[in-house]
Amino acid sequence: EAGVAQSPRYKIIEKRQSVAFWCNPISGHATLYWYQQILGQGPKLLIQFQNNGVVDDSQLPKDRFSAERLKGVDSTLKIQPAKLEDSAVYLCASSLERTGDGYTFGSGTRLTVV
């Protein structure tokens, strides 16, 4: 089975610019997650979707971050405007709705804000 696809793999932008990341989950996975992983730390949830509805976005900085999941499949995470502290790896993961098998992660996008 194909894995979770993410693009781009790397991105360098200047502060105050905007950037978007794309994620294509595993086919049939109802739940999609975006995580932010700052260097030296474990991933932290930004937003969780169930199909195309938001389940949890309590840790998403909504003044600058936005995310959508159209048609319950692909998802896009946007940052506008970017700050230096947004430099991190952004990981996308997906899972079946009712399972304890964990998540399947993509390879992430490494964002550097200069």
Binding site: G3, Y33, Y35, G40, Q41, G42, P43, K44, L45, Q48, D56, V89, L91, A93, S95, E97, R98, T99, G100, D101, G102, Y103, F105, G106, S107, G108, R110
Partner: protein
């Protein structure tokens, strides 16, 4: 709030030897899942092993096994016969069991494992 603590930022092991990575967690829930993930330089999180809290038997996957102490809220990972390919960051993670559905994964800060030839 649930938290996951990994107290060993770095660990080192000789090839073919055994190493144990520590993890403790804090939760008031009784039904949850615990995981160990491996993150190589490629950045992709790879599931190593999982444990369901209501199962007393410790999970094992080939060379990987856990010591799950529910009362002590401890979940350590033992890697036997360490191989060079085991070198990576290892993350302990927790999620509540919402009646069979899993929720958000809460991660520790990770342990960097080096394997010496």
């Amino acid at each position: 709030a649930q938290t996951v603590t990994q107290s060993q930022p770095e660990m080192s092991v000789q090839e073919a030897e055994t190493v144990t990575l520590s993890c403790t967690y804090d939760t008031s829930e009784s039904d949850y899942y615990l995981f160990w993930y491996k993150q190589p330089p490629s950045r992709q999180m790879i599931l190593v092993i999982r444990q369901e809290a209501y199962k007393q038997q410790n999970a094992t996957e080939n060379r990987f096994s856990v010591n799950f102490q529910k009362a002590a809220k401890s979940f350590s990972l033992k890697i036997s016969d360490s191989q060079l390919g085991d070198a990576a960051m290892y993350f302990c993670a927790y999620t509540m069991n919402y009646g069979g559905s899993q929720g958000n994964l809460i991660f520790g800060k990770g342990t960097k494992l080096s394997v010496k030839p």
